[in-house]
């Protein structure tokens, strides 16, 4: 069967819908997800198809939303809870980090927690410092949690389906920029007609090249793909590795790429201090030091809050131009 072109939002919606059709135990709840179909339409028309027992609008209560998802998962359901902005995960940090990620362990393996917390971060949409944060790194200190961050419609659909079927808690981070920015590689793309899953814990080489590895995740994969295209004009063949899953991280695919290219840029939307890129870079230093012919370059947001002005935000965040500049410095 042929692929169709779907947007990132449409692909997520289709993934949720398919899993809800497949398994009655999948329920969706959160703020604005039912009657309005989601502020960004990811849960559009789910209420119409599956009814108010399976698609619920909740009070504005992030702690209770995640807590209730934990409880529902403990009691046989597969809840998909939505936090409207990743920034609001701070309110539910305790439920995610102290409870969801530890209950299997604390119980001595008596329980499993098949729950998904969906959220999105809006860096790239000029929303200012309280509505743009990519906080994945803050949650990497919670073993037991899986963290997934798809960069394309195909991955978004395949990964939301895998996350729903997974028996561990998954923090599923979407990119608000990929919802709306038509210029991005990840905004719209081919999605197979037939059913498929994308495995959690597997990175993907999105573009092959021998000169330099660009490891990216989520929105920045689009910047990296654009950068790789520009670099080819300079005769530099860049390989783009999309992490797709942040925890458990696919270190092997990163190491294999660096082994071939001997040069590494890690680019993603955390602020630089202790960002996701720090984990990637330190792992390569520890286990792949001999492959490197040049220092690793980490491209992140600077360690400061995001500005709101679109003009300033563009300078603040990782863009294809910054990746191109860094790659040209590395490959001389």
């Amino acid at each position: 069967m042929a692929d169709r072109e779907l947007t990132y939002v449409e692909a997520l919606n289709e993934g949720l819908r398919e899993e809800m059709r497949r398994d009655d135990s999948v329920i969706v709840f959160g703020e604005e997800v039912a009657a309005s179909g989601g502020v960004y339409k990811v849960t559009k028309d789910l209420l119409k198809e599956f009814g108010p027992k399976r698609v619920l609008d909740t009070p504005i209560s992030e702690i209770a939303i995640v807590g209730a998802a934990i409880g529902a998962a403990l009691n046989g359901l597969r809840p998909v809870a939505e936090l409207m902005f990743f920034d609001f995960a701070g309110i539910a940090f305790d439920q995610i980090v102290t409870h969801a990620s530890k209950m299997r362990f604390m119980s001595g393996g008596q329980v499993k927690l098949p729950l998904v917390v969906r959220t999105q971060y809006s860096l790239g949409r000029a929303y200012g410092s309280q509505h743009t944060q990519f906080l994945a790194a803050s949650f990497m200190q919670a073993p037991g949690l899986k963290i997934v961050a798809p960069s394309t419609p195909k991955d978004a659909k395949g990964l939301i389906k895998s996350s729903i079927r997974d028996d561990d808690p998954v923090l599923f981070i979407e990119s608000g920029a990929l919802y709306v920015n038509r210029t991005y590689y990840g905004y719209k793309g081919p999605v197979p007609e037939e059913e498929y899953l994308i495995p959690i814990g597997k990175a993907e080489v999105k573009r092959s090249g021998d000169d330099i590895s660009i490891v990216a995740v989520s929105r920045v994969v689009s910047e990296a793909m654009a950068a790789a295209e520009q670099l080819s004009a300079y005769g530099i063949k860049a390989e783009v590795v999309d992490l797709r899953t942040i925890m458990p991280m696919d270190y092997q695919t990163v190491l294999e790429s660096v082994k071939r290219t001997n040069r590494l840029i890690v680019a993603e939307d955390s602020v630089k201090t202790c960002g996701v890129s720090a984990e990637v870079a330190s792992h390569v230093c520890e286990y792949g030091f001999d492959y490197l012919e040049a220092p690793i370059i980490r491209l992140n947001s600077p360690p400061m809050p995001a500005p709101q002005s679109a003009e300033l935000e563009r300078r603040y965040m990782v863009t294809s131009d910054k990746i191109v500049e860094a790659a040209r410095r590395l490959v001389v």
Binding site: A64, A68, T98, S107, D166
Partner: protein, 355 residues
Amino acid sequence: MIRLLSPQGVLEGEPDPTLTESKLVKIMKDMVAARVFDDWMLRIHPMGRVSRYAPAEGQEASMVGSAHALSEVDWVFPTYREFPVLIARGVPLVELQNRMFANSRDVLKGHEITLYGDRWRRIVVGAGGVSLMAPIAVGMAMASKSAGEKSVFIVYMGDGATSKGDFHEAINFAGVFKTPVIFFCQNNQWAISVPVSLQTRAETLAVKAEAYGIPGVRVDGNDVLAVYTVVRKYVEAARAGGGPAFIEAYTYRIGAHTTADDPRRYRSEEEVRRWRELDPISRMRKYLTAKGLWSVEEEERFIEEFREELRKATEIAESTPPLKPAAILEDVYGETPWYIADELEELERYSAETL
């Protein structure tokens, strides 16, 4: 405040009709057992093999009374102090002691300081912090209700927990979705060293329920007949679809917060003495003795038997081998990622070299 039994053991109201004579005796035995258990744990704690213990003395009526008001299909969310609830729920002493010693037969594999959890007994692994389980209980209840089950979920919490955001979000959620959850709050007057007057300006904790549109009642937490009667009323109402309730059991923690606390630093001997006069066990003893269902001799004999059972259980737990180091890395994920497996290899090499 609802009270059915005066501190002198005189009946002042109508207890729930399911409180049969045999049930009254069982409740009395569980309260006495809980106090013996407390005393035992506080004696063995200084020997250094039990990391922490939170005594329940003074709160036995609240805990045992509420536990007996539940049915087998109901789910319990205890905090770290609810040993009497576990005893009333029929958890074998050997299992409790395996947990306390965190040995190789510990149901939680030595992974958690919290007292106990066993999903097959419908006791959820408690949290180390106050009221943290309330939102989770609401979610379980939502799932149960939507599956058409008739289970009720009781969350144990203290007075301090009513100051927390997770409690307020949970009780509001429970109200909105009309879930079968009982928020059972033991107001034992002290959150470690902070008195309840510093938790709230409200006159009672029960009044907080009103703003969420659900029933809130204060019951004499040292009166086991009142606790049982009130809890059963709201548990059965919730089972019938009436939604959640908040019950404030007004009681007192006679002992320390935990073995890591010394209450003499923050409260008066006089205050403790006044509450000792309201002791829940002696109140019930007077009542049952007058009814001819209990006697001092019978109590002594029961204490002797229970202590012997506890001694044996402790011996078994103490002589059970410790956990293997590998248990540290078990149950992090459903499937162990390779980098955790690598850590295990490292750990075993380290253990072999050094232990």
